[in-house]
Every structure is written in structure tokens, then in C-alpha cells.
């Protein structure tokens, strides 16, 4: 009896599996319009476009080519248009679901630059909708770029061990909550938005260090990803409402999106529904959010601050204002700015050295190009400026040394 039952189960499984074979289910009939529309929304929420389009959106959408710099070498986003040879045109919806949630395509295993560690919990319904949407895109016959990984990191079969060890069913929660909005936010943030991929430090093996989930990753790039735990956000003056404003508009009283976060707002969060944006903000801050912390008064050497203030007036105040108030459509406020309030001065130093390109946000809001001052200011002048900014408008210690500035001049991540 047991044997016959097992045989029956095996037979049923075989039928089910054969029913899901690639050849049968490859775009056999057009997907319903509402599924495609939902897929477009989800592809935006999952931010597929950025990594699967050549840098700055210069290439064909979803045709690949975006370089992702990892400690193991450069990995290029792949062609996910429906081209049968170079893209995913020969994939079934099953293939797509397996690739997205497990990192295994019909050809090979995917490097974890593809955030399947986060997408692992994506629902089948959402995966199918994204698949249906991508299959409506124009196929682009563009070959994928060769990755710049050295052995053994280039050895894809070795990813079996990485995937076995590090793929978890669910990421740890950044906050506590139980509301429906918080539950939805958990899915949109942890899974679709894959926010932890940038905002969590990684171990030597390249996996997310989940013991420090969402606590920021300064090594992400020249501009690091800040701490976005509830306490980390509240320490920099963020509220649930301001976070929602930031995701929808790219600009909030605490500053504008820059670095890797700029394309996230540009291609992803600004297109999300108000409900989902609010859900992300609620999830990041929790159902009972901590109160935003007021700016601390910092005691610092008056002469040092004066030197920094002079530099500020000389090269910054023209745009950011003498009182650090900023100017609409020109520059963000310095007073209470999230970057100035960050205990880690990295992003303030790097953006002052490198500058920030002109930014365009929804509703015709712009922030004009900020020049970099690497050539204009010496290490000492830069440290004085940064210390003035941190102590005066950031509530942070004026403890940045000229040596730190020097180190950031040449450092590349």
C-alpha cells in the first residue's frame, strides 16, 4: 500500500513537473493586460532596471551592461529582454522564478550580485507578473558582457556551496511591528526593494552579515549606504513621514538622494504607490517609531570652527546659504542634513571631494550640480570645513583629521 502510494505520488509529481517544462510554458499565450501592468509596477518596485541597463540609462532598457563592482571583481548586469539568444526569451515562467528566487538559470548559477538572497521570498504570483511584463519588452540582441572576476570567484559551480550556506527563507526584521502596513512593508522592503543588499555590511564570503542587518555598509562604494535601522534613522532626525516623502520625491528636510540611492529613487521608489511607500517607511521605523533626535549642541575649538566657517562662506554658502538653509531647486539644507548628522563622516567627505552631479527629481524639482573641491581645498581646509559642518549643523563631533581626508582622496571601493 505504502509502495503503491509512493508510486502514485511519484507519478503525479512527474506529470506536474512535465507540465511545467520550459518548452510548454514559454510565452505560449499572451499574458492578461492587468498582469502585465502589475508586472511593470513590480519590476519598478524590485528596481530591475538599474542593474539590467547600461550605466546612466544610456543603453536599451533591460539589455544589461551595468557594472557592479564587488570585492571579487566587476560583474555586469545581464540582458533580460526576451531575446532568445542573449536574453531570457527562451526561459519559462518557472525558469524565471527559479533564477529570481534561487539564483539558478537554465544555463548556470547566478552570482549573488543578483539579489536573490532578498528575492528568495518573492511570491510566485509576483514573479510571474514581472516575467509577463518583461516578455512584452522588445527583444534586444545584445550579448552579455564578460564579467571581470578572477578564479576561483569566476567558477560558477562553486556557487552551489555559497547558495547552500547563505540563502535564508527570511531576512531578520529591521523593526518590530504587526500592523498590515508593517507586514506589507516587510515584503516591499526586504524582498522587492532588496534594501538590505546595500544597507547591510557583507562578510569576507560576500554574503550579507545578518547580525548587522540594515546597519549600513560604508564599503558599498565611495558613497556608503547609511544605517537605516529605526534607531539609526531617528538619530539623524528621520521620521516615518519624512522617509515616505524621501522615497516619493527624492528630497526631504534631511536632504536629497545621492550616490547609489539616486537611481533607486529615480527608477524605483518614485513610481511606487503611496501605500507601498508608506509601508516601507513604516517597516523601516516600526509600528512604534522612535522619536527623531534633536540636534545635539557640540562643544569644539572656536578657532577651528571659525576656520571651517570661512571656508564654508568662501565656497559653499553661495548655494547652501550663510545659515545652511539651502535653496529650493539649487541645493539641500545643511542644517539638520542626514549626511552631516551621520556619525561616520565618509559620505560628507567624499561628496565634498568628488561633488554630486545635477539631480532631477519628480515634479520638476532639481538640485544643481555640486562641484567637487578636491583640487580647491587642502586636506587641512577640507577637514576644518567638514568639522564646522558636523559640529554646527550635524550635532556630531568635530573630530575629522586631515589624514582622514587624505585617505579618502585616493580611496576606491
Amino acid at each position: 500500500m505504502i509502495k503503491s502510494t509512493l508510486l502514485a505520488v511519484a507519478g503525479l509529481a512527474a506529470v506536474l513537473l512535465s507540465g511545467c517544462s520550459a518548452s510548454d510554458s514559454v510565452a505560449s499565450k499572451p499574458a492578461p493586460a492587468d498582469q502585465i501592468k502589475r508586472g511593470q509596477y513590480l519590476a519598478q518596485a524590485a528596481d530591475c532596471m538599474v542593474c539590467h541597463t547600461a550605466k546612466d540609462g544610456s543603453g536599451a532598457p533591460f539589455a544589461g551592461g551595468y557594472p557592479i563592482h564587488s570585492p571579487f571583481g566587476v560583474i555586469y548586469g545581464t540582458n533580460i529582454t526576451p531575446d532568445k539568444e542573449h536574453g531570457i526569451g527562451a526561459w519559462s515562467a518557472d525558469d524565471f522564478f527559479t533564477a529570481v528566487t534561487e539564483g539558478i538559470t537554465p544555463k548556470h548559477r547566478l552570482f549573488p550580485a543578483m539579489p536573490y538572497a532578498s528575492y528568495k521570498s518573492m511570491t510566485r504570483e509576483d514573479s510571474d507578473a514581472i516575467y509577463a511584463y518583461l516578455m512584452t519588452k522588445k527583444p534586444v540582441a545584445l550579448a552579455n558582457k564578460e564579467n571581470g572576476l578572477s578564479f576561483p570567484f569566476s567558477f560558477r559551480p562553486g556557487l552551489f556551496f555559497w547558495q547552500s550556506a547563505f540563502l535564508k527563507d527570511q531576512l531578520p526584521d529591521v523593526s518590530s511591528g504587526a500592523s498590515a502596513e508593517w507586514q506589507r512593508g516587510r515584503y516591499v522592503t526586504n524582498v522587492l526593494g532588496h534594501c538590505a543588499e546595500c544597507h547591510t555590511p557583507r562578510t569576507m564570503a560576500g554574503n550579507l552579515d545578518l547580525s548587522q542587518s540594515y546597519q549600513g555598509n560604508p564599503k558599498l562604494d565611495r558613497i556608503g549606504a547609511p544605517d537605516i535601522t529605526p534607531s539609526g534613522l531617528a538619530a539623524r532626525g528621520w521620521t516615518t513621514t519624512d522617509l515616505a516623502t524621501f522615497f516619493a520625491k527624492g528630497v526631504a528636510p534631511q536632504g536629497s538622494a545621492y550616490g547609489e540611492m539616486y537611481p533607486v529613487v529615480h527608477f524605483s521608489t518614485q513610481h511606487m504607490s503611496g501605500k507601498d511607500i508608506s509601508a516601507i517607511a513604516t517597516y523601516l521605523m516600526g509600528d512604534t517609531p522612535p522619536a527623531p533626535q534633536p540636534l545635539k549642541t557640540i562643544s569644539a575649538d572656536a578657532a577651528l570652527l571659525k576656520a571651517g566657517q570661512r571656508t564654508y562662506i568662501a565656497v559653499c554658502a553661495g548655494c547652501h546659504g550663510l545659515e545652511g538653509q539651502g535653496k529650493p531647486n539649487v541645493s539641500v539644507a545643511m542644517k539638520g542634513n542626514s549626511t552631516l548628522r551621520d556619525i561616520n563622516p565618509q559620505n560628507l567627505i567624499v561628496s565634498t571631494l568628488d561633488g554630486i552631479a545635477e539631480q532631477k527629481f519628480p515634479n520638476n524639482v532639481t538640485m544643481q550640480e555640486m562641484p567637487g573641491f578636491a583640487r580647491t581645498l587642502s586636506d587641512l581646509e577640507m577637514s576644518q570645513l567638514v568639522n564646522f559642518l558636523r559640529a554646527t549643523w550635524g550635532g556630531q563631533a568635530a573630530d575629522v583629521s586631515a589624514e582622514q581626508i587624505k585617505a579618502f582622496r585616493s580611496e576606491k571601493h
Binding site: G318, C319, Q368
Partner: protein, 179 residues
Amino acid sequence: MTIAQQALTVHINGQNVTLDVPEGLMMIDFLHEYLNLTGSRFGCGQGVCRACTVILDNTDGTSEEIRSCITGAHFFNGKKIRTIEGHGKKNDKGEVVAVSPIQQKFLEHYSFQCGYCTPGFVNAATVLIEKLQREPVAKEQVEETITHALDSHLCRCTGYVRYFEAVKDVILTTPGLIK
């Protein structure tokens, strides 16, 4: 309320100027209000249009453009600059007796419409020519070089073509700018 003053010494158009001026004063206001050098134009006031551009002469012999509307006057303390008023040759009485070769070409090509952005373009072209004197370019790179050098300057009358032609004329007719 007392506005804090700070001493400022700048070498402008061949002369040293020393004055006490407010700490937060922008350079364009210093030029206009303290020195009556009103040729540098206040356009956008936020560093975009570059009508306010002045030339900073570095100690290593190079020159560069600086936007005077977003740069504090004290940034220039101890530095050497040129404004649009400093290009022509003057006689002992301080009267302009000759314009610079760039200004001359701008006149010949009638590179003006309303003229508001012209001081910025003349200064940018001057910096470009001085760079080419140090680092000449191949003839086939001239147009690209001009476009790159003047690209950030805005002309609301859209008189770019005549500016371009004037600068190209200077480069092609001045010995030593092309290799």
C-alpha cells in the same frame, strides 16, 4: 546688528586692492558694490549661467574660471584675478586704447545679442586660449575643444554660433595654439 568685517586683499586687473568687507559677501557683490567693476554680470545667482565668471590666475602660471556669484569674496584673499574690465590695453590715463584679440574677434563676428552673457564668454575664451598656449591641440580637435570649454556657459538669446565662430577664428589665426 553688526556685520562682522574681515580684511581682504586681492590683486585685480593688475592692481592690489585692500578693504574691510563683510564676512559673507559674495565676490560679485564685492566687485559691483565696492570697486564699481560692474562688467561681471549677475545672472542666475546660483552658479549655473556663468555670466559672472572671472579669471583666477594661479601661481603656477595657469588660469581658470571662477563663478563670482557663488564664491565668497574672501576666497580670493591674496589671489590674483582678472575681470572683463582687465582685458583691454589702457594708457597712462586709464583709458582703453586697444581690446584683446579675443574681444576683437567677438567684435568682428558680432558675437553679441543682448550682451549680458558676453563677459563670461570672453573670460572663458581667454582661459581656453591661455590653456592652448600651454597645451596646443590638433586642428581636427579644435571644434570639440571649443564646445567642451564653452559648453557650460548659457546665452538666453541663443547666440552660441557667433561665439563659437569668433573663438574658432582666434584659435586658427593665432600662432602656437594648434600643433
